[in-house]
Every structure is written in structure tokens, then in C-alpha cells.
């Protein structure tokens, strides 16, 4: 599921665990295929991902370019990009601003997210490759660098909301 409320066309981003039973459809498939029954083998776990490797790159530093290789500047409050795009994110009482806004930014330049939150949360960037920010309650600041031109959706998890669309040129 890409977006709980406003599903988008399939993009290879992520998948939750299935809501239908994994095996619910097997009898039908078997019937359909005309195969003899009884070829089920053991691996019937329904959980998404049996290899819960916590992301190392995400938890260490507040400044996050998770998944990408380029070193991003840390301590972004006082870094060298006053001219870059700055996005003010306010997350209070389950409400978030911005609310699906289109935000222009330059490819390869840091985009600063100043977050003021009353609860922890995750901002997910549907960039190529994917990136995300895990933020804590209080104010914090993160830099995200996106190299590839395109529209990058920024989503909040819980509640599922489209926070912004970054228009990267």
C-alpha cells in the first residue's frame, strides 16, 4: 500500500503485510491451474520482511541522507545553505503542515526540513533512491539531498498523509 487514503499507481517503494491470508487464494489458483493439490511447502509466514535489519544510517544522526552515499552536511541549523530550500514542518495534534503543497527545489542541493512536532514520526521521501526522516518530539532540523529531477512525494506515516510534493529541477 502506498498511501492509505489516496493510493497511487504502483511504484516499487514498499509493501505492508497482506490483509488477505497468504494461502486464501492458493486453492483457487491450484484449481485454476489444474494442478494436483498437496504441493504446499512450509514457508507460510505472513509478515512483511523476515529480516528486520534496523536501518543504521537513519538512527545515528539527525541529518539524514539515508540510502544515498553522498555525505550530507551535519548540524544543518548553521550550515552553509541559507539560500537553499527550507521547509517548515509543523506536526501538532495529528495535523501536519504543509498540506500537500508543491515545493520547488534544486537537484543536488540540500533541502532543509525544520520540524516542530509534539510527537515522534516519520517523513518518507519517494525519491530515487528512497529516503526518510525519523523525527522526535520537539524541534529538529534535517537536510535531504535529492539528485534526480522529478516529483518527489513526501509522506507522513500515521496518519498517512501526503505532506508535500517536491518539484526537483
Amino acid at each position: 500500500m502506498r498511501h492509505a487514503t489516496s493510493p497511487r499507481r504502483f511504484r516499487p517503494s514498499r509493501s505492508g503485510s497482506s490483509s488477505l491470508g497468504r494461502w486464501a487464494v492458493v486453492p483457487l489458483l491450484l484449481m485454476v491451474l489444474g494442478l494436483a493439490a498437496g504441493c504446499g511447502d512450509g514457508d507460510g509466514d505472513d509478515t512483511a520482511g523476515d529480516d528486520p535489519t534496523p536501518s543504521a544510517s537513519m538512527s545515528e544522526t539527525p541529518t539524514d541522507s539515508a540510502g544515498t552515499d553522498e555525505p550530507s552536511p551535519s548540524e544543518s541549523e548553521s550550515d552553509s545553505a541559507p539560500s537553499g530550500t527550507v521547509v517548515q514542518v509543523i506536526f501538532k495534534d495529528g495535523q501536519i503542515t504543509p498540506n500537500g503543497d508543491r515545493i520547488m527545489a534544486d537537484a543536488g542541493e540540500p533541502i532543509t526540513f525544520d520540524i516542530d512536532a509534539d510527537a515522534a514520526g516519520e517523513l518518507h521521501f519517494h525519491s530515487t533512491p528512497e529516503q526518510s526522516i525519523d523525527f522526535e518530539p520537539g524541534t529538529s532540523s534535517y537536510d535531504i539531498v535529492i539528485d534526480q529531477p522529478g516529483i518527489v512525494e513526501v509522506e507522513l506515516h500515521e496518519p498517512e498523509m501526503l505532506v508535500a510534493q517536491l518539484e526537483i529541477r
Partner: protein
């Protein structure tokens, strides 16, 4: 390669590739495209031929003998069916035994290689799905085993049903892809596929091959797209035709309007749902977002159908002519507009997510294997890094599609309409096509 993906919270991210989308079309390109479409439309109306040119019964040159020999040989047909079955068995395998993760190539094979790849494959090679269709093959094998005739079922396919089953199937697909919230979870997509296969086998048993030709959503989509290829048949003879002459050979049946309406309407909806106003609206009314999305998808499909119906029917007709038959008779002319728009909408998606899928197909179970030898390939994002070229290609595709559509409608109009209505009678259809093309460009510009 083939790390199962980073794990954060309960979301598992796919490896390597992300979900960036194309930039909107630059204003000047979108306007240039719309103006070109408008100009061409009226130029065609004024200067094009006055006698119908295309005739399925006589058009086309026979293909080279060696080529016809290969294509019509049993070995070639069997080989294509074998390829189709191999892919089918592979798909069923990853669908049943694969992980419920987006590293499972199932999603990419279904949504990208099959659904999007079907169009370019058919435009280049002809009706490919008909040749590889696993449901046809299974039906054929059943008939062989039971000594029956696969081409004939229990009953004659009802005439009035026409392409309607395919239209319903296509709507079911775009619903799953675009509005169903669990469209990237293994269980529901697998269930959809199982129901599809079951319905196709049942239909084949009841009505034989006629059902596949008219009721299989993928075959109908593929065969419609293949009418823009140079490959055609005159009787049993393999012929080479201009795409326009080939387009004229689309078989008109009830429900053709519904098929093109679903195809064009759903693609337009896919652009629309990323637009700012819609995102705002669904964000502000989260509890109704589902309902709104369903209504919008349906609205786009019905809207396209109504515009097409109005465009084709608002003409003078001859005394013995049925006005209500006209929408289906003109529906073929929307096919190039659909294909042009599909190219514009899906090009980077097909190229980049398609590569990603082929890479993932090497390691369907996430155990590090490299079945196809593609596991260590890297996705080439060249296209996304050249946004101007990409945008220009999109506009060219849309405008070329529009030109072909207008010419096809013109030829059909001068064949069908009485002489005195031939010019005025085309105006409404021309307006409908301009609405489709300009609307499509607007969505690509605004989304």
C-alpha cells in the same frame, strides 16, 4: 544487490529504486503541443482527401514470404505459447511462494511489464497477447486433452455482449491499480489474477476463442494497440499496412466505446490524482478520500465515453442510418490518442521501473540468487536526468497520436456520413478529440 531492503518501523523499502515521478510539462511545450493539435485538426478537415482511403478488404501488401512462413509455422506459434506459459508459471510461482514485499518482482511484472509493456510490444510486433496468452494456451491444452475444439465453446458468443466483458475487466484492473488501497500487497493482487484466470477459462469453455478476442481485457487492449503496428491480416494472409490503414481494420462491436473510455479515462485519472487541488481535497477530507477517488476514476471513464458519444453523434445522418451506432464506429480513432497519452504518461515508468523489475526477477525469493543473470544490473536513470528530452518526447507522442486519430476519424466520417453532412458532421468529433488531447496535455502540465 538484492538486499531485502532497509527495515524501518513496519515499512520495508525496496532496494535501490524509489518512487520519483516525472516533472510536469513546461508551459511553452504544453501550449505548443495543444496549438499544433488544434491546427492539424482543422488542416485535416479542410485539405485531406474527400474519398475514403482505407479498406480492410483490399489494403496492405503481402508480407515477405519467408516472414509469413515463419510467423504462420506451427513451431513459431508453439514457441510463443511456450514463452507465455513459462512467464505464467513463473508469475504464479512468485505470486504464491514469493514474499509480500515490493522486492517481489510480481508487482513489477503485473503492473509494469504486462500492463504498460503490452502497448509498445503490440505497437511494434502486432497482437502479442493473443499469441502468448496463457489462458488461451490452457484452454487449448484442455481441448486437446478432452478431444474438443478450443476455438468453439458450448455456445455461440452473444453478439450483443461485444467487448463489454473486456471493458469490465479493464475497469477492474485500473480500479485495482489506481484506487484500491492495497494494490501493492501480494494477497489482493494475487486474488485479482486468480479471478481473472478463472473467469477467462470459464469464458473460454463457454464461448471458445471468440470470448478471448472480445472478453479478455489484456487481449482486447493488446489487439487494439496492435492496430497501430504495420502488421495486419487480410483473411489469413499476413500483410504490411500503414498504421492508419491498419487502424481502420479495428472490428467494431458493442462496447468498443466503453473499452476506449476506460483506457483513456483511467490514464487521465492517474495524472489527475497527483494534481494539487485533488491532493488538497483528499487530504482535507481523509474520511471521504476513498469515496472521492472511486468517484473520480469512474467519472473520468464515463466522462470520456460521454464526450466521445456526443462528438460522434452530433452530426446529420442519412435516413436509414442509426445515430446510436456511431460512437462504436468512431471509437477506433481514439486508440492512437490513448497510445500517445500512454507513452507520455508511462514512458519513464516503463523504462526505469521495467529495468528494476527485470533485475528483481533474478531473485524472486529474496535469497540472493541470480536466476536470469540480471541480478547485478543497475537501473539506468538516464531518461529522468534528461527532463527536457523526456518532456519533448511526451508532447510529440501526444500530438502524433492526435494527428493519427483525427485522420482516422476523418476517413471514417467520409465513408459513413452522407455527403452534405461530411464537413459539419466532423466538427463535433474534432472538438471531442481536441478536448481529449488538450485535456491530456493540461493534466501532464498541471500534475
Amino acid at each position: 544487490m538484492n538486499v531485502p531492503g532497509r527495515y524501518s518501523d513496519h515499512w520495508v523499502l525496496a532496494h535501490g529504486i524509489g518512487g520519483a515521478k516525472d516533472l510536469p510539462l513546461p508551459t511553452e511545450l504544453a501550449i505548443a503541443g495543444a496549438v499544433a493539435a488544434l491546427t492539424v485538426s482543422f488542416t485535416v478537415l479542410v485539405v485531406a482527401w474527400r474519398e475514403p482511403r482505407y479498406d480492410a478488404a483490399t489494403s496492405g501488401r503481402p508480407a515477405p514470404a519467408w516472414l509469413a512462413g515463419v510467423v504462420d509455422s506451427t513451431a513459431f506459434r508453439v514457441a510463443l505459447r511456450a514463452v507465455g506459459m513459462l512467464l505464467f508459471v513463473y508469475t504464479a510461482w512468485v505470486a504464491v511462494f514469493g514474499e509480500d514485499l515490493l522486492t517481489n518482482p510480481f508487482f513489477g511484472m503485473f503492473y509494469v511489464l504486462l500492463w504498460v509493456g503490452l502497448v509498445p510490444a503490440s505497437v511494434l510486433l502486432g497482437p502479442v497477447w493473443k499469441a502468448v496468452s496463457p489462458v488461451r494456451t490452457i484452454n487449448l491444452l484442455f481441448a486437446r486433452l478432452t478431444g474438443g475444439d478450443a476455438s468453439r465453446g458450448l455456445w455461440e458468443y452473444p453478439r450483443r455482449l461485444g467487448y463489454w466483458p473486456a471493458a469490465v475487466g479493464l475497469l477492474a484492473f485500473v480500479w485495482l491499480e489506481l484506487v484500491y488501497p492495497h494494490s501493492t500487497e501480494l494477497g489482493p493482487v494475487r486474488l485479482w489474477c486468480a479471478v481473472y484466470v478463472a473467469a477467462m477459462l470459464l469464458g473460454g469453455a463457454l464461448w471458445g476463442d471468440d470470448f478471448y478476442e472480445r472478453g479478455d481485457p489484456f487481449e482486447v487492449y493488446s489487439t487494439l494497440s496492435s492496430k497501430l503496428s504495420v502488421w495486419g491480416r487480410r483473411g489469413d494472409l499476413l500483410v504490411v499496412r500503414s498504421p492508419l490503414a491498419n487502424l481502420d481494420t479495428v472490428v467494431v462491436r458493442p462496447g468498443l466505446v466503453a473499452v476506449v473510455a476506460v483506457l483513456f479515462g483511467s490514464t487521465a485519472y492517474d495524472s489527475f490524482q497527483d494534481s494539487q487541488p485533488w491532493v488538497r481535497l483528499t487530504n482535507d477530507h481523509l474520511e471521504y478520500a476513498q469515496l472521492l477517488n472511486h468517484a473520480a476514476l469512474l467519472g473520468f471513464c464515463v466522462g470520456v465515453g460521454l464526450i466521445l458519444a456526443a462528438g460522434s453523434m452530433l452530426t446529420g445522418v442519412g435516413p436509414e442510418q442509426s445515430r446510436r451506432a456511431l460512437p462504436d464506429l468512431f471509437a477506433h480513432s481514439v486508440v492512437p490518442i490513448i497510445v500517445g497519452y500512454v507513452v507520455a504518461h508511462y514512458l519513464s515508468y516503463l523504462v526505469e521501473t521495467g529495468q528494476d523489475t527485470i533485475i528483481k526477477m533474478s531473485d524472486p525469493m529474496g535469497d540472493g540468487s541470480n536466476l536470469l543473470g540480471t541480478g547485478d544490473w543497475k537501473v539506468n536513470f538516464w531518461l529522468s536526468y534528461h527532463p527536457t528530452l523526456l518532456a519533448t518526447t511526451k508532447v510529440v507522442a501526444v500530438v502524433v497520436g492526435h494527428i493519427l486519430g483525427v485522420v482516422a476519424a476523418h476517413d471514417r466520417a467520409i465513408r459513413l456520413l452522407p455527403k452534405r453532412h461530411q464537413v459539419t458532421g466532423q466538427l463535433s468529433m474534432l472538438v471531442a478529440m481536441i478536448v481529449f488531447t488538450a485535456g491530456g496535455l493540461y493534466l501532464l502540465f498541471a500534475a
